[in-house]
């Protein structure tokens, strides 16, 4: 442990001085979420592609549609306005995968959520039971069934809100008992399993209540199982035993009858896979069932299920039943029925025929809500997000406000601002800037045509022109960013050979050989010429277990071999940044292979990991950037039903391994990724299915990062941008998040943590170029947040500051306090931003605001000091501010600009002073006149004088009031326009700017001279005080936070005024 404290500030008497304190020990760190979370985090989305929606519930309220949307792995979102805006409502809960949402029909404030998606694709997340809110989603209570893992549907009794049924398929990856149909009659305090499956892999897949008789319950049971290498819906084959079946109860679940061909004419014969059911709300005798079987089809009963008739069995009715078995009947028309599938399909003849209804939507539909008040109004969810139709379901609006995107991987480049690259579940691969003037809109995200997206990198040889990315099964391409041409460069198989590429096949770029590219099948492939040629540099590194290579039989009753189950593959690659010949490879079947000679020889080191069960999926290998012998590995055993993190480190080339993250350390969730910091080898970041965890002591202690309400969402990949020191977080369910500048974490040690307050260093601060962007996009879009444009001040507090002033000052190099900022009060790391601006100039009061003069120019780059005063103790640290390296002007030119801006700033001050004196004299004249009787000669002279004084004022400022566009421009307005021109470009001003300043100064001087003459010749003779002064000016800067004003003032008119006045 050799963390060095380079920048800690320690109290030395009443003033704290910067001091390099040397090495500090890691031994006793008391860290928790609060320690780190004040770093903050920003979500850059995107909602452009959005992500898989698994469940929808909605109702109409006072003419508006209230929507609850469940994301496959991104929580619950609520809209009170039919989908114009959404707010996440489940961010404080420990799981984010949503299987079902139900609104209590008798009290819509009561909302039930079943966690754990039931659309059981390979990448599906997990839940932990049932939650209920009694306040419309603001707060939630966990109601139990913690081992159910996933819930397909919840129905609340139409009249008794305490009674509800929960349909739980149960665990996907392992046998379990907490599956089947559960019922509560006490609002979830207790549960009764009213229908159990035939075996420990059978649970409930669908549920319907008779709308006219809530004791009439229809439940579909489903036998299913996924393993890393196979999946079955139903039994292991088309004919094998399956626990699936369809059951009916007429007594609220006490007794059940199974549907059979013998008892129910027309019902298909066993075995079944997944069954989806729907009772027509407007005519409960009409029942639909889509049954996966040896002859999968839609069946309809017109007599409440007694007899059935086969209806549609088109491809979109029966394709991939595990992913799409959902039927939705129009609440007003029993013959209008929708079926989710790759495309949404619809029937208006009771299921006899169907046609495509998905329009231009993404596809892979999972749920649909039909507005009972207007059945042409539909809201549906698919793998590409949420969609709304107003024409009955053939054309769709995309909701571009749900950033529930499911990234698998992320990479960054070295542009400034850097760009973020990544691929997503069923949503190809995208690039976006990490910041953009006006915010990172959906339009800033640039897609590349593909299938599912995974790894994506800029080509190191031509990073501005080419990217590597892949679709499922290792379909890597090299694509031109400008022409969008793609070249398939996937290594090909030899004679009678099969290359086994994982669904999420790893691509790796060497950090010691620029441009060297690796991809893994069962072999490790290397290209040194951008994919023109490949060499295999390993034998089969997997177990090559034939039992795990039977994917053509995968699917159960319906074959489903999409590459999602491809197994015995390489899953993770990491070449050492210290020694390019050292390459680690992890496989999905449990091998951790190492070569130290560039691939000539390989050693499987997994046998040296004590306590790790065999065949554990190696989700990540990470060669240390500090030491060739050190590497980290994470193992994901959730495919065996083990949700715990298994994270290890070796410091001797794999000869021995030490576990560094487990549940005993408070880490939750199966591990996806571990990353070492690029500067501090003891600073580690761990992504699990339930969030981001940080350790500052090499893994001895961990704490969950909860900054910015970062949810317990799956963190699948992490990237550190080494220039900006940002941590970029790829979540599978909530898009990309960025922690700007992790430098402070490198300086948190026992001394800093123990101190009452410690100022912590940041990356070098810059005055970023001021770009003007953004436009009115309405309220229905997501916009990602930018990196701070201000200087950031970071400190750690041992406890929350509650009493007395916490004073934060900025001091210039001359020791003058130039700004005082509101300090942040929280326990742990705090961050405060300083806009780096001079105070705005004092400005004469006019009819309207002088827009540009409401803000000050930025101070010059240079050395400043941060001074924090807490409880009488003073803490100081230097604050170095530099130019944006992108600046096209020199520091001298910047100084010329600042000088010019401050010159006009000074003219404003002069003008304000003049205005105060003019108005002061005018008021003095009025006051004196008021004391004189009518007809008095002096009074008459004073009245004339008042007019003359006012005439001078009218030369300075526009005075016509009333709010119309007067077009009136006087000295102040001209000065404001010049000030804007100079302030908004920080390079050297043009000679015409300076000439204009000369001209305006001359005009101002003339008014000053006129006023001086007026005082001498007219005011003094009338006995008026020549020093009279009123407050007819002021300063103020509404630039940065118009939105915030609303919370104090609710005055959009002020905001719109500012917007119009602000020069662009």
């Amino acid at each position: 442990m050799n963390r060095r404290n380079l920048f800690l500030h320690r109290a030395v008497g009443p003033v704290v001085l910067a001091a390099a304190l040397g090495a500090a020990s890691h031994d006793t760190f008391a860290v928790d979420s609060a320690t780190f979370s004040g770093l903050g985090v920003r979500n850059i989305g995107s909602a452009a592609m959005s992500g898989r929606i698994s469940a929808i519930a909605a109702y109409n309220d006072d003419g508006k549609t209230v929507l609850y949307v469940g994301a496959a792995s991104g929580g619950v979102w609520k809209s009170l306005d039919g989908g114009t805006t959404f707010a996440p409502k489940f961010d404080d809960q420990p799981v984010q995968s949503i299987g079902a949402i139900a609104v209590d029909p008798s009290n819509p404030k009561n909302v039930w959520v079943g966690t754990g998606e039931s659309w059981t694709r390979n990448s599906v997340s997990v839940g932990n039971g049932v939650y209920r809110s009694t306040d419309g989603g603001e707060t939630w209570t966990h109601l139990g069934l913690p081992e159910s893992e996933r819930i397909a549907k919840i129905i609340v009794h139409p009249k008794d809100g305490n009674t509800a049924w929960v349909c739980a398929p149960g665990k996907l990856w392992s046998d379990s008992d907490e599956r089947g149909l559960f019922k509560t009659t006490d609002a979830g305090q207790t549960w009764t399993k009213v229908l159990a499956g035939a075996n420990r892999s059978t649970g409930c897949s669908d549920l319907e209540l008779d709308p006219q008789n809530p004791d009439g319950v229809l439940a579909a049971m489903w036998d299913f199982r996924r393993q890393g290498w196979t999946f079955r819906s139903g039994g292991a084959s088309e004919t094998a035993f399956s626990g699936s079946g369809l059951f009916r109860s007429q007594d609220g679940g006490k007794t059940w009858t199974e549907y059979t061909p013998a008892a129910n004419k027309g019902f298909p014969a066993k075995p079944y896979g997944r069954i989806g059911i729907a009772i027509a709300p407007s005519d409960p005798k009409i029942v639909y069932a889509v049954v996966e079987g040896t002859r999968s089809a839609l069946f309809r009963s017109n007599d409440g299920g007694a007899t059935w008739e086969e209806r549609d069995r088109s491809q979109m009715m029966v394709w991939r039943p595990f992913y799409f078995s959902n039927l939705i009947v129009d609440p007003t028309n029993p013959d209008r029925v929708f079926k989710t599938n790759l495309g949404l399909i619809a029937s208006e003849d009771g299921g006899k025929s169907f046609s495509g209804s998905g329009g231009g939507a993404h596809g892979d539909w999972h749920d649909l809500w039909i507005d009972p008040a207007n059945p042409k109004h539909l809201v549906g969810g698919d793998d590409g997000g949420l969609w709304t139709s107003f024409n009955g379901g053939s054309l769709w609006h995309k909701n571009e406000n749900l950033p529930v995107s499911q990234f698998y991987h992320v990479a960054v480049d070295d542009q400034d601002p850097y760009e973020v690259y990544g691929g997503l579940q069923d949503n190809t691969s995208w690039i976006a800037p990490s910041s953009y003037p006006g915010g990172i809109t959906n339009a800033q995200w640039e897609p590349f045509a593909g299938g599912d997206g995974f790894w994506m990198f800029p080509d190191p040889i031509a990073p501005r022109d080419y990217v590597y990315f892949e679709s499922q099964g290792g379909s890597i391409v090299r694509a031109n960013r400008h022409t969008l041409q793609q070249r398939d460069i996937q290594p090909k198989a030899g004679y009678k050979e099969k290359l086994r590429f994982n669904w999420n096949a790893p691509i790796h770029l060497s950090s010691t050989e620029r441009g060297t590219l690796y991809i893994g099948s069962q072999f490790l492939h290397r290209s040194r010429d951008q994919g023109q040629t490949w060499e295999r540099i390993s034998p089969d590194l997997t177990t090559n277990d034939p039992a795990k290579q039977q994917q053509e039989k995968s699917g159960g009753i319906t074959v489903d071999n999409s590459a999602a189950e491809m197994h015995t593959t390489i899953y993770s690659i990491s070449a050492s940044p210290q020694d390019g010949n050292v390459i680690w490879v992890g496989t999905d079947d449990g091998n951790v292979q190492l070569t130290r000679d560039g691939g000539k020889t390989w050693t499987n080191t997994v046998r040296n990991i004590r306590g790790l069960p065999k065949a554990s999926w190696v989700s990540w290998v990470e060669a240390s950037r500090f030491d060739a012998a050190t590497a980290y590995a994470t193992f994901d055993r959730h495919t065996f039903g083990d949700l715990d993190p298994h994270v290890y480190v070796t410091r001797d080339y794999g000869r021995s391994w030490t576990r560094i993250a487990d549940p005993a350390q408070g880490v939750r969730g199966y591990a996806h990724v571990i990353k070492e910091d690029v500067v501090d080898r003891d600073l580690l970041f761990l992504g699990t299915e339930f969030g981001l965890w940080i350790s500052i002591d090499g893994g001895a202690h961990w704490a969950a990062f909860k900054g910015g309400k970062f949810p317990a969402v799956a963190v699948r990949d992490l990237a550190i941008q080494p220039r900006d020191h940002d941590l970029v977080i790829a979540t599978h369910g909530r898009g990309i998040w960025i922690i700007d500048d992790i430098t402070p974490l490198r300086h948190l040690d026992a001394t800093a943590l123990d101190a009452e307050l410690s100022l912590l260093p940041n990356r070098p601060q810059q005055q970023r170029l001021q770009g003007y962007g953004g436009w009115s996009r309405g309220d229905a879009v997501f916009v990602g947040a930018n990196a701070p444009g201000s200087a950031v001040i970071t400190y750690h507090q041992k406890t929350r500051h509650l009493f007395g002033k916490l004073k934060l000052e900025i001091v210039d190099s001359a020791g003058k306090v130039i700004d005082t900022l509101p300090a942040s009060k929280r326990r742990g790391i705090n961050r405060v931003e300083w806009a780096m601006t001079v105070k705005p100039p004092r400005t004469p009061q006019g009819a309207t605001l002088a827009g540009a003069a409401t803000y000050g120019p930025r101070v010059l780059p240079g050395r400043y000091t941060v001074r924090l005063t807490k409880n009488g103790q003073v803490y100081e640290a230097p604050l170095e501010i530099g130019l944006d390296p992108r600046a096209t002007y020199t520091l001298d030119e910047r100084k010329a600009q600042f000088d010019a801006a401050m010159r006009v700033h000074g003219l404003f001050e002069r003008m304000a002073d003049l205005s105060d004196r003019i108005v002061g004299l005018r008021e003095a004249a009025k006051t004196k006149a008021a004391t004189l009787p009518d007809g008095d000669k002096t009074k008459a002279k004073l009245a004339i004088l008042v007019e003359r004084i006012e005439g001078l004022r009218r030369q300075i400022v526009a005075t016509k009031e009333g709010g119309a566009i007067t077009g009136e421009e006087r000295l102040r307005e001209h000065m404001d326009a010049l000030y804007a021109a100079i302030v908004n470009w920080e390079g050297r001003p043009g000679p015409y700017h300076l000439a204009r300043a000369d001209a305006l100064e001359k005009e101002l001087a003339e008014v000053e001279a006129d006023f001086a003459r007026l005082i001498e010749r007219e005011a003094k003779p009338l006995g008026l005080d020549p020093q009279a002064r009123a407050v007819a000016s002021g300063r103020g800067s509404p630039r940065a936070a118009m939105h915030a004003l609303r919370y104090h003032w609710h005055t959009p008119d002020l905001i719109s005024t500012m917007r119009e006045k602000k020069p662009h």
């Binding site: 009170l80 603001e138 300090a823 009060k825 105070k839 400005t843 002088a850 939105h1043």
Partner: protein
């Protein structure tokens, strides 16, 4: 301005045995922490001034209160925006675009202003005022396991108050106000408490949209209790056309 003292000699860190907290106990502790009912009620007017800051933005603010009356002022470049309520009329002057005449505010604004105008605070005698309260347990607020109290105001708006677990002063209020049937959610962080006439008041008030990292902070630098505040400060200006 009153001098403040850390803990003021009155507040004592309470042990965390208050597991069986209910709403009334929490409110009682809060009132005691603020200085007690007598001290709170001994304040019959309040005038505060300070600065509002958000990023590079800055403005002077002032606030005047009497029971049931409130006036807020916000000044830039010598122009002052006013927002006031006298128990009957709510009105504003918004001068920045060239208009200086007062305008009436809506019934929805009155709901918010009515709560702001409650000088002793809405939690004092909440039941008599028709508010409903519900204790919601604790929630982590930036590293503090804060007690959480939902208040449903008599006018239909809502707020969730978060109290420091040791000192029982408010550290955050999340408000939900309804404007033309749509919810408007704000989040206000309170801190830098100092005593004024025996009552602890926050001298730092940071507000923004719920969940937003961007907040505007008002830092008060002067507070005067029990000065004479004329009715005309709060009433719709005489002679003006509504």
């Amino acid at each position: 301005m009153r001098k403040w003292g850390i803990l003021g000699g009155l507040l004592v860190a309470l042990p965390c045995w208050v597991s069986a907290m209910n709403a009334d106990e929490l409110i009682a502790k809060n009132i005691e922490a603020r200085g007690g009912l007598d001290a709170i009620r001994a304040i019959h007017s309040l005038e505060r001034g300070g600065r509002l800051q958000a990023g590079g933005f800055e403005a002077d603010v002032a606030e005047f209160k009497r029971p049931g009356k409130v006036r807020s002022e916000f000044s830039i470049q010598g122009m002052t925006q006013v927002r006031a309520y006298d128990g009957q009329d709510a009105w504003t002057i918004s001068p920045f675009g060239g208009r200086k005449d007062p305008q009436k505010l809506s019934a929805d604004d009155i709901k918010d202003l009515g709560i702001e105008a409650d000088l002793e605070g809405p939690l004092v005698d909440y039941a008599k005022k028709g508010h409903k309260v519900e204790y919601l347990g604790t929630e982590d607020i930036d590293g503090t396991a804060a007690h959480k109290l939902r208040v449903t105001y008599a006018n239909g708006n809502e707020a969730v108050y978060y109290f420091d677990p040791d000192y029982f002063l408010e550290i955050r209020i999340v408000s939900k106000s309804w404007y033309r049937g749509s919810a408007f959610e704000g989040e206000t962080d309170l801190g830098d408490y100092e005593r004024v006439n025996g009552v602890y008041l926050p001298f730092s008030v940071a507000s923004g949209a719920k969940g937003s990292a961007q907040k505007s902070t008002v830092t008060y630098d002067r507070t005067e209790a029990n000065g004479d505040l004329a009715d005309s400060l709060f009433a719709f200006p005489q002679g003006a056309k509504p």
